[in-house]
Subunit: 195 residues, 2 copies
Amino acid sequence: MKRTKAAQSEATTGRLLAVAREHFTRDGYAAAATERIVAEAGVTRGALYHHFGNKLGLYRGVLEQVHAEVGQRVEAAAMTEQDPWQALQAGCRAFLEVAADADVQRIMLLDAPAVLGWAEWRAMDARHSMRHLQEQLELLAQEGYLHPLDTEALAYMLSGAMNEATLWIATQENPQRALQKAADSLHRLLAGLAV
Amino acid sequence: MKRTKAAQSEATTGRLLAVAREHFTRDGYAAAATERIVAEAGVTRGALYHHFGNKLGLYRGVLEQVHAEVGQRVEAAAMTEQDPWQALQAGCRAFLEVAADADVQRIMLLDAPAVLGWAEWRAMDARHSMRHLQEQLELLAQEGYLHPLDTEALAYMLSGAMNEATLWIATQENPQRALQKAADSLHRLLAGLAV
DNA sequence: TTATTATACATACAGGCTGTATGTATAAAT
DNA sequence: ATTTATACATACAGCCTGTATGTATAATAA
């Protein structure tokens, strides 16, 4: 069986990313051993270091996937609404639902800031989910719906509030109910921004 | 020179905590080597494991200190105001200022959630800073100043917003100005909660 | 006062994990 | 057909944590 190098490479990196994602979710970054990841992926650590450079590189790859998925789903939800306010609300609500996944919580919210540092973590987030949030806020501001505030500061604070909310929701015995409470609270907070 | 065991113990744990705090702040939890910490503290790893059980135990000790300091300063600021709304605002503002310290940012905000897990991190926070926040919200709710909302959900979201805000502020070239922007935004968000 | 016990460490060792250096087979390019 | 580059596998060195064991001294009991 002959395979092209590109195909071989893609197959290996794909398996590594998939297995690593499970391990990073279940064990966390520190306790996830590269030896166990590569064994489950059917390769050796040589392959990992060839494709990703080091353990951190593999983590970046996984994190990029998670961020991209979250960003897509949030954007999709926001785009169903025409009214800017409704779009913002829909996007926020979608985030609260999407971020309920264990992968998102452990990898993207809990470990990533400590592993990559806040700046790199935020930079990656900015390329995906949070960019939409700030754009939406700026749109509202330009159309005069918003009190005169710094949209950047606002975006970070709202993002932080939602991140914390999803982690809180996940610990509640009735997550559905907790989600509603968080959404209500968020709704009220956003209401304070409107003129 | 004869020393009592209790005094000896206190002196050693004190030095270990002080040195560890510096290392955890500068290097982060993962990269802080116990060997280097004990060397700088003038003891061996035997002492560390005797008093703190393991590296995580030492981290818990440091974190408890940081949390306690932050909690005290926030409470002190809040207590200067009589009006519940003013007290809440003052406490929030104080937190934004106190959490500008590198120790607080790296240890308490960035690493702790990943190292201890969200539940234990929040439990420790609840015993210090966040307890005041929720109490204040409940006070406001009971006196009818607040829209009917879940104060627990609200407390987590506001806490998350402020945590993120301080980390953002620290990256801005003009932190003083950024602090003001964040405080303004927070003020507006809180305004949405009032009836 | 003396014998015993418990505390506060120091030292030595074992195991795990990351990163690097090196070797090899095969696809791609010349 | 030969050279080169890619995609790995293997072996090794170094660091770091936790544990097991030894020891001196303060606290306690007899």
